[in-house]
Each structure stands twice: as C-alpha cells, then as structure tokens.
Symmetry: C2
Subunit: 254 residues, 2 copies
DNA sequence: TTCCCGAGTTAACGGCGTTTACTTCGCACC
DNA sequence: GGTGCGAAGTAAACGCCGTTAACTCGGGAA
C-alpha cells in the first residue's frame, strides 16, 4: 500500500527521538553533556545502539545543528508571517527574531554559530567549499532552510532598492572581491528559487549585505557570550539603534 | 637573602610548565584535547599531581585563558610600539593586530572570546559582575592587561575628539542606558590609571566605543568561525573598509 | 636532628566514545 | 506456512577521561 515499510517508520521515529533527547540535554546542560550514553539512557536503550543511526557523536552533533537551523528558520518564517509592511520592515523583523532566538537559545546558538569550520550550519546560502563530488549529485548537503529565509527577505529589499540607494563609497580594492561574491550570491538566489534582477545585485548591494550580517552577528554574539566591555543593561536599545543605523545607511529608510 | 624560597621557585616553574603544555595542546589539537592526563603525560608526571596546582580542569582552562589574554595584550602593545602617528592610527593598529592575532590563534580566540559566561576573559575593563566581595579586597580578579591596552589606545582618541566629533544622533531611549556605561567606563579608565577628562566621556563617545567593539568583534569572529554567508576571499579588504568606515563615522578621519 | 608538609605516586571509581561479537525478530520470498 | 536474511539491539570489553583517597618521600624549618 504505502511505499514506506513499518521498519522504516520505526527507524525514522527513533531517529527523531534520539535528536529530541540530545537537544534537551544540550539545552539543559550544555554541549558537553550531550553524551551518547546519556541519550541512550533517556531512551531506555544502550549506547552502542546509537551507532545504528549515527556514525559518531560528532556526526550526531552535526545533524543536531542542522535540526536547530531548520527550527530557527521555521521560527523566523513564523515571525515574519505577521509582517505585511514594506521589505525593510521584514528584514528588521528577521533581525530581531534572530536576536531573540539567540538570547533564548544560547546553547543552540553556540553550537551552530560559534563552532569553527566544517559545521556548515550557518553558511546561509552558498557553501562553495568542498571539492565538488564528481558532479551528478545535486542535493549534496541538505535543505538549507535558513538560507532561504534570509535570502527570501533580503532579496526583495535588494530588488526594490536597486536604483534608489546611494552608493556607499566602496573602496576600489574591494570591487574585485565583491564581484566574486556577486556571482556566489546570484547562484544562491537561483538555488533557493528567488528571482532576482541582475542589476539589483550590484557590488553596493553585496557590500551592504555583508555589513548587515557582520553587524547583526557581532552584536548578537556579544550579547549571548556576554563579552561586552561592560555590563550593558540596555542591549536591546543598542540593538534597535544598530538596526536603525543600518536602515539609514542602506538608504532605504522610511 | 631573597624573599622567595626555593620551593616557591620550583612551584612557580612547574605551574608555568603546566600551562605551557596545556596551551600547546590547545593550539595543536583543540580545546577538548587539553586533558589533565595529556598534560601530565607531556610533563612526565601523573594526572593527580596537577591538583596540587589547579582545583580542576575547568580552573586550569580559566587560568590558561587569562594567560592568553596577557599574551594578546603583550602582542598588541608590541605592535603599537612602532606606531607614532595620531591616536586614530593607533586604534587602527590595535584593531588590525586583534584581527591578525585571532586569525593566527583561532583556538585561543575561541576559548577566550566565544566561551559563554563566567570566563571573564574578554570583558576588557570593568566587569561589574560578582556581588562585591565584602569590599577591602582590591585586586579582586587579576591584572587585566588587555583592558589596559584597549583603554590606553582608545582613551587619548576620545580625549582628543571630545569636541570635534559630530553628534551621531543617539536615539533618546539609549541615553539613559549610556549614562550607566559612562560611569562604568570612567571607573575603568580610573582603575587602569588613564586620566580622562570627564567631558570626553560623552554619551556619544561611549556609543561610538560600543559600536567599534561590536563591529570589530563581529567581523573577526565571522572570519575565525568561517560563518560568512559565502566564501569571502577578500576578507582582509572588507576589514580595512570597515575600519575606514568606523573612522569616518567617528568624525576623526584625517 | 627531628619532624612537618607539600609534591608526587598508586589505586580506584564512575563515566565516556567506540568496537566486536552476539541475540532477536520483523518481513520479504518461496 | 515455513525459511532465512538483515536490521535493531545487547553485553562485554578497550582505552580514554576527571577526580578522590591513601600513601611515600624528601627538603627545609624548628
């Protein structure tokens, strides 16, 4: 009848259960408490059984971090559903959503956005690394919902602002490098099925995008890790003022 | 003759040796390879002996991160020794120095600047946390060389720019919070023995300082953790352009 | 000279990731 | 309806790990 056997159903169910308990441990007790034995204990099975589902603890953490990305994407999408204003408002909403998600999920944030290298979690879109796996393999890594959300909200803004934003004085040495990024970004928009007029992908727009991400990430990471030089009780207002500033610089305000 | 006994000398020497080997492990194989047993092995000693020097592995990592801060401070000071230009150039030099240190010491950067909470490594200056230890204890935590370096280079710039920087339009809701930060910052300058005219500590200046740190930290962390949305081969030029932009916004350029 | 105390050791505990060899049992096939 | 394969799970073991407790031993103060 159905193309999925009972065995596959069960397998998928416990696979999900494993990551559910893993995540609970991550949230409750931190990354190093996410232990194969602890997960197995909570599931009422023995640790080696987990190797039927994951190659190693590291593999499990990697999948977990992908789950987290997907959940973040879903939350951001949901947040944005209520916003029907202009494109800039949506971008603001996503930024605020990202911040409050990070502050309420510090452990998840740490795993996904502050683990060096291969994690691949947060490269929202392209990921042109890896030496190309003999071609013919299209889906490659994963859905990358998060990239879609970010690009989906930034895209329209870029398209709209294509010819009304003031040129932000790009240093000449940067233009060559930005051209590469332009190609990458165009490919990403394409991959995620967002149509984007080529003239909207100006070097200025790419530069703007990079600055948005750098500042958003910086401010949020500083808050999550509590690495501000002194206690800033007004971090939320600081964040708002950063957004306002970015909007102003993008020449898209009001 | 000397106020320090032979015993104390030896103790200090091995204490240093322990952290030297710990650091080597951190750099070579990452944080989770910094193992009491591994350190002891390299020292030709057994693991429990380390408990004569540190309360726990966590304690050791904490001290190690303080060491790292001190080394970073030393490196930044050294870098700055060659700069005899205006104050802005020195700030630029420190920022560039911080970036290149982070890129050449990613593991150390991760330990000090991306470990949440108590680590206390990177709160460059004040650290008004902790419930005040009954007073009478002045030195409290540690030297905090890093705070001195940063403040020492930012201070003169703030003093100089006291009345020639354009007001950066601070949102009204921010001013109250910034007033708190002003006090904290003033206390920090005082603690580090840097004289600072009170009128130089305007809300604008504090706001500027926070933005500098947020952007510097953000860009550097993005590079270290490779979390840029796509591969930016031109990250160095992006960084330079960020510095230029910050300088321009501070109204202190040229 | 005596004796203390601190650096270091040995042995042990429980927990960890991972591998190997094994049981068990659902389910596809004849 | 029986047969057998393969997947899910287990038990035991290996070598790590942090940490504790009980000890040795020797340098230096009394």
């Amino acid at each position: 009848m159905n193309g999925v056997t009972r065995r596959e159903q069960l397998r998928a169910a416990t696979e999900l259960d494993i990551r559910r308990h893993a995540r609970e441990l991550l949230v409750r007790e931190g990354q190093e408490a996410v232990t194969l034995r602890a997960i197995a204990r909570e599931l009422g099975i023995t640790a080696p059984a987990l190797y039927r589902y994951y190659d190693s603890r590291e593999d499990l953490l990697h999948r977990l971090s992908e789950d987290i990305c997907d959940d973040l994407s879903a939350e951001l999408s949901e947040t944005m559903r209520g916003i029907e204003d202009d494109h800039l408002s949506k971008v603001f909403a996503v930024c605020r959503g990202f911040r409050s998600w990070a502050l309420t999920h510090p452990r998840e944030f740490g795993l996904v956005f502050a683990t060096p290298g291969g994690n691949a979690g947060a490269n929202a879109g392209v990921d042109a690394r890896e030496p190309a796996p003999t071609a013919t393999t299209v889906p490659a890594t994963r859905s990358d919902e998060l990239g879609s959300v970010f690009l989906g909200v930034v895209g329209p803004l870029m398209a709209e602002g294509a010819n009304n934003s003031p040129p932000p004085r790009i240093p000449e040495e940067l233009r060559a490098g930005l051209a590469d990024s332009q190609r990458d970004l165009a490919a990403a928009f394409n991959t995620h099925g967002i149509e984007m007029p080529p003239e909207a992908l100006s070097a200025e727009a790419v530069y703007m995008l990079l600055r948005w991400w750098a500042r958003l990430y910086g401010q949020v990471a500083l808050e999550v890790f509590e690495k501000f030089p002194f206690d800033v009780s007004h971090a939320d207002r600081l964040f708002e003022s950063m957004l306002e500033e970015l909007g102003r610089e993008a020449g898209l305000y009001r």
